[in-house]
């Protein structure tokens, strides 16, 4: 198979040539039947443009047709965190060690909402952009990678709220609680793992969600349940011993614990938890890529 060219070449070969306009950068483009096992990346330089376009559309969906407009973007996480902190930290008194529950919850939420929003928009991407994909075979991958835009936005918003809350505690209690230093590398590692999980699940489910509504309805509840199983609202140490295995073998425990450990200095995930997370990801990723590429090829062949 040939290499791809810089322009107009979803498939094909390129080699420099002279053209009527004397631009040496223009190339011969060869179009052949697709034979690749990986998803289409599209011509060089267009992938990120399309991903940014789709990402902006996902963000717009949050405030589209509302009176408050853009204000909803910061308002949603603020209301969400206040409700959860009041319920779990206030009424139920969930322990959070030697730090306020609000700080504990916020730091865990940075990772979770980054993952959750990225996954949600990844698997919804093809169905959400169906009008763009209906007649023109735009590569599918940018729609999935674009999902990182709403995910990152949510993560940043929770991080900003955490900074404000920590600033408040710094003034009132003299402690900032969050430490940013060499340990923060663990937090970056955790975010990276979550991003890979989000994309993998997006690649796996997006082609199904595109054609079968039931999948999306089921996924909504699966992710809500997964949120409860992942130590966001509580720490692993507070889980009764007989249920510890659930947390250890939950592939998302390690990334969330990495983020919390990196920023709050809580214990890092156990070795078994990290291995589980990495092995599940390594097993799922190639399957997701292959299925996604196959579905994309089949759909594009029909256009």
């Amino acid at each position: 198979m040939n290499t791809s060219s810089s322009e107009n070449a979803p498939i094909g070969v390129s080699r420099p040539t002279s053209t009527p306009h004397g631009n040496a950068s223009r190339r011969n483009v060869v179009r052949e039947p697709p034979r690749r096992l990986t998803p289409r990346l599209g011509p060089t330089g267009t992938h990120f443009h399309l991903a940014a376009h789709f990402g902006a559309n996902y963000v717009k969906k949050y405030y589209h047709h509302t009176y408050l407009g853009l204000l909803w973007i910061p308002l949603l996480p603020v209301l969400d965190i206040l409700m959860r902190a009041l319920l779990f930290g206030g009424f139920l008194g969930v322990p959070s060690g030697d730090r306020p529950y609000l700080v504990f919850l916020l730091v865990g939420s940075i990772g979770w909402y980054f993952y959750d929003r990225t996954t949600l928009w990844s698997y919804r991407s093809l169905q959400f952009n169906r009008r763009d994909y209906r007649s023109v075979p735009v590569p599918w991958l940018p729609a999935v990678t674009g999902a990182v835009v709403p995910g990152a936005l949510q993560g940043i918003l929770y991080a900003l709220i955490a900074l404000v809350v920590c600033g408040y505690y710094r003034i009132t209690e003299g402690s900032f609680y969050v430490s940013i230093g060499s340990g923060s590398t663990y937090a970056i590692l955790g975010l990276l793992l979550l991003l890979l999980y989000a994309w993998t699940l997006g690649l796996l489910f997006a082609p199904l969600v595109r054609i079968i509504r039931d999948v999306r309805l089921v996924l909504r509840y699966v992710f809500a349940f997964w949120y409860m199983l992942t130590p966001i609202l509580y720490s692993v140490q507070t889980i009764p011993a007989r249920y510890q295995a659930i947390a250890v073998y939950n592939p998302l425990t390690a990334p969330v614990e990495f983020i919390r450990g990196g920023l709050l200095g809580t214990p890092l995930p156990t070795e078994r938890s990290v291995v589980t997370s990495v092995v599940v990801l390594a097993a799922l990723m190639p399957i997701a890529f292959l299925l996604f590429a196959r579905a994309e090829r089949a759909a594009h062949a029909r256009l």
Binding site: N8, A9, P10, R27, P43, I212
Partner: protein, 289 residues
Amino acid sequence: MSGFPAREQAVFGVDSADRDSGLSLEHVVKEYPPLGPMRARRFFSRLGGLQFDPALADRLADDEDEDDDFVGEEEEQEAVDRGGIGRKVVDHVSFEVQRGSRLALVGPPSAGKTVLLKMISGIVAPSEGRIVARGRVAPALNILAAAIPKDQKLGTALPYIAAVAGLPPGLVRSRLDEISDFMELPQLRTLPTLALDKRRRPEVLLATMLCLDPDIIVTDIPLALGSFAERCVQRLNELQTRGTILIAEARGARGLVPLPDRVLELDRGRIISDRLYDPATEKQRQAAG
């Protein structure tokens, strides 16, 4: 291009002696496969013991899903309308076009003209065969005009549509002023796409592609009379002198603006005639039906 039938190897176009090939198609086939998603949907419908009813599903959807629908059903209907399932819409087509040529693809509906244009543009991949295009291919196709995002300003929508067509979006961004002048729309950057009527959207796309200095321009947008058409013809003439190939699609070659120098007639996905444009012959052919 060795191995091509002699008729298809013939060189057409003005001043063809000293020019080389800008585009060649080798045994290109486009065949639509059966509809996979429909099989999956039917399986799930049977699993639930119900017939899948998208209308009912939409009614049951919550507010967040107010504008959701699912593509399988539409895809199937569109493919059936196209008459594409289970047959080759383009069947072993081979030809070569030299630089500076104006080629008209003519034929009845479902002859495979549009699919061929889409394949040359890279929008659709061939099922078999090979297309070699030298240089930048600029597709000004109705299908792309329809895909211009309606809720955006043209300054954002045009680079997006260029990216969809496989062209560098930055190139379009850098030519927005030129496109604006060409369209005689001074506020083009900030103009919402919805402000343009359906007829103007293809024109904006055509203007965009003409301003990108293409080596091959592929279009199914008809040019009528008027100042825009005149500017397009003038621009096409300029491009042609620099060797740009124009490939246009029409039911008949006589109505094309500007007139082609070569006509390729298709029927049921096959080339049935490859001839130089001659007004008298085309008139005769059109009269014959």
